[in-house]
């Protein structure tokens, strides 16, 4: 029955493919085409200018500020969310914390389900230079000289934004690791114990090696997230002061909808696409995912 209708399976996946083509691949191709033109949102005709958008982009100092900020975002997110999330998960899965683990799991996970807009607005109050609780806390513990306008100074703005993302997303990555730790066969831990391994040894030799696959997934999520981030910097600083906290996402948005340079914005989008593609490919190679597991 099956082999007589070879086309049937394709029929089943056709709607999905159609939608993917229409809403994912077609826009990508169109975007690539647009990045060779110069046009505004309501200009009827587009002027072909070849690679000029890209040349201008690579000459634009804001692009390098944005790229640098994205790299900071990626590095800090990997360290905080993936490493931190793994450690948190391991602690919460340890028999010692069994009684409180479900409570903490919920506490850490709650920020994930709150809308990013709400969180960003919340943090603008926390960071407020006059009435914010962060500066209030610093002066309470006698570190008043460290109080500053966190979002308003070039040196701190991007890190204040990054910190918000860490706070929000660590719970999500932690949850992924908890699931994967729960799948580790108990025998491995028992065997390690018999060999005289302590808690840290067990964590390093059993947990870390067994969650390798999830490690790959988690770092892929955070890395692509770090290069496509937009909401947090847009709401918290709008890319300012000056361009100090600009990321590629806000650069794209500002060029497209503020300065009305649609072609230039398309070029930024293409660069973001290429960058995140490269990073995922490197990771695929590095972890050789899918071959074991």
């Amino acid at each position: 029955m099956l082999h007589t209708k070879k086309w049937l399976p394709y029929l089943y996946i056709a709607p999905c493919i159609l939608f993917m083509l229409l809403f994912v691949y077609y826009p990508i191709v169109e975007n690539l085409r647009f990045s060779f033109y110069e046009f505004s949102a309501f200009s009827p005709e587009k002027t072909y200018i070849g690679f000029e958008n890209f040349l201008n982009l690579f000459k634009d100092e804001v692009f390098y500020i944005a790229l640098k900020n994205n790299i900071w975002y990626a590095v800090i997110s990997i360290l905080c969310q993936v490493m931190g999330g793994l450690i948190l998960a391991a602690i919460l899965e340890d028999p010692i914390t069994r009684l409180v683990s479900s409570m903490f799991r919920t506490i850490f996970f709650i920020p994930v389900v709150i809308s990013i807009t709400v969180i960003a607005l919340l943090f603008t109050f926390i960071y407020n230079p006059d009435i914010g609780i962060l500066n209030g806390f610093l002066s309470l513990i006698g570190m008043e000289e460290h109080a500053r306008a966190w979002l308003g100074e070039s040196e701190t703005a991007i890190f204040a934004v990054i910190a918000v993302s860490q706070w929000q997303s660590i719970g999500y990555i932690m949850m992924l690791f908890i699931v994967s730790i729960q799948n580790i066969p108990r025998e491995l831990y028992e065997a390690a114990e018999m060999d005289g391994a302590g808690r840290i040894r067990k964590f390093l030799s059993v947990t870390v090696t067994q969650v390798r696959e999830m490690f790959f997934v988690a770092s892929l999520i955070t890395l692509t997230g770090a290069f496509t981030v937009f909401n947090e910097p847009y709401i918290l600083t709008g890319g300012g002061p000056g361009n100090a906290s600009e990321v590629l996402g806000t650069l794209l948005y500002n060029s497209a909808f503020f300065k009305d340079q649609m072609g230039y914005a398309s070029a930024v989008a293409t660069v973001i696409l290429v960058l995140s593609l490269i990073f995922s490919l490197i990771q695929l190679r590095l972890f050789k995912s899918g071959e074991d597991g």
Partner: protein, 429 residues
């Protein structure tokens, strides 16, 4: 059997589609005479949202054949969204617009309808306007927008704090600095300011430029077609320096707080002075009551501009060039800009109408009447700076000034960036 079943299902489905089509057709036929207009404005927040809802309802009652569908997005998002929807094939028929370069942009690209004939046709209605308010909607002699409201920028001050410290209303720039110094020593924030959303910077820059730079130089420099105007007059750097003289008197970390925050600082009596729009009197006066005072930006010693000038501009309504019902759309615009609506609008949403004689004792406080006089008495009105020049020049200015406030750039460096942006914009013309 199976095939029969499928055939049956398919035929039922297709029948229902046909049925669906015909039923929707018949319903449109019965409502054939009703014209639907789409209206897009920038106030999804109260009280203006309600004001427009009420106005639309009233209009629909007077004109049973016209239906109006309203959509609204706030400020900065509006600036972005309106550009996109006007470029689409199905733009709103009637839409809100700032004046100056913002409106000219739509006119130049042929997105907005030329309204000159309508204005000329109905002189009874159009003569009621403060005629100067048409100017910022006029490009090459053609009128593209109808002024709905008018506004200006001035310093607001807290009379209670001024009395407490024995201060006079500043008449010159150095008076302002001296007063700010005294206020700071008394433990208040002298001037409330927030530049996270950087358009607030552009209002200071615009006002200071017109005090420091001769008017004819400004006219040349702001004109996007005039390649001679390259922003090289030393007054521009001085204007930025003057702005930085205020910096020690602002609240802490201006780059991290919004305009709304600075308004709250002022309202709650923590800040003694603020640079606000006259329309904001309606928002602040209910809290500060008789303690609220207003003065125009004081003249600067050595400034080459006109000291008796004010920054301010009308905001208005435009009609899309793609509309199928220009007549009905115009009818709606006339309704919104009528004298009765103008009187209502000041009382209900504290926007000054651009129609003459709409501010009176009944619908306005004494201060609001004084404020409208500031606009009427100024020898020269300048547009909001961020709508007066090309957006790329604005961007260079705002980014640079944010960094200057952060101590990362000097006024000379900012002007260098601006001049570069000017060159890019004007060479592209």
């Amino acid at each position: 059997m199976k095939k029969l079943l499928i055939l049956a299902i398919v035929s039922i489905l297709s029948l229902s589609i046909i049925a669906g089509c015909s039923s929707s057709k018949s319903s449109t036929a019965s409502e054939k005479d009703v014209v639907e207009l789409r209206f897009f404005h920038r106030w999804p927040n109260q009280p203006k949202k309600q004001y427009f809802e009420k106005a639309v309802k009233e209009f629909e009652e007077q004109h049973p054949t016209i239906k109006i569908k309203t959509e609204a997005v706030l400020n900065d998002s509006y600036k972005e969204k309106i550009r996109v929807v006007l470029g689409s094939s199905n733009p709103p028929d009637v839409f809100f617009s700032w004046s100056g370069e913002f409106a000219y942009n739509f006119a130049r690209s042929g997105q907005s309808l030329n309204l000159t004939d309508y204005v000329k046709e109905d002189a009874e209605w159009s003569n009621e306007f403060i005629q100067s308010q048409f100017k910022p909607f006029t490009l090459d002699g053609k009128i593209y927008g109808i002024p709905w409201s008018t506004d200006g920028k001035a310093f607001f001050y807290n009379k209670k704090i001024f009395d407490e410290l024995g201060l006079e209303v500043p008449k010159t720039w150095s008076d302002l600095l001296a007063a700010s110094d005294k206020i700071k020593k008394a433990g208040y924030t002298p001037i409330g300011f927030g530049s996270k959303a950087p358009w607030t910077i552009s209002h200071y820059i615009g006002s200071l430029n017109q005090l420091m730079v001769p008017q004819d130089v400004i006219n040349e420099d702001y004109d996007r077609k005039n390649a001679e105007g390259d922003f090289s007059h030393p007054g521009y750097v001085k204007a930025l320096e003057k702005f930085m003289e205020l910096e020690p008197y602002f609240n802490k970390g201006v780059n991290s707080v919004d305009h709304e925050y600075s308004r709250e600082l002022f309202k709650s009596g923590k800040a003694a002075i603020g640079f606000f729009q006259l329309a904001e009197i309606g928002l602040i006066e209910p809290t500060l009551k008789e303690n609220l005072g207003v003065f125009n930006i004081p003249g600067i010693e050595g400034g080459e501009g006109n000291p008796n000038s004010i920054t301010g501009a009308p905001e208005g309504i435009m009609i899309s060039s793609k509309t199928k019902h220009p007549k009905e759309a115009m009818e709606f615009v006339k309704f919104l800009t009528s004298k009765e609506k103008g009187i209502e609008q000041l009382a209900e949403v504290s926007e000054y109408s651009a129609v003459k004689g709409t501010t009176n004792e009944e619908n306005a406080s004494k201060l609001q009447q004084e404020a409208i006089d500031l606009i009427a008495n100024a020898e020269e009105t300048y547009l909001w700076f961020d709508t007066a020049v090309d957006i790329k020049i604005v961007d260079a200015y705002l980014n640079g000034t944010q960094q200057m406030l952060d101590g990362k750039k000097t006024p000379e460096q900012v002007m260098k960036d601006v001049q570069k942006a000017v060159k890019d914009v004007k060479s592209a013309q």
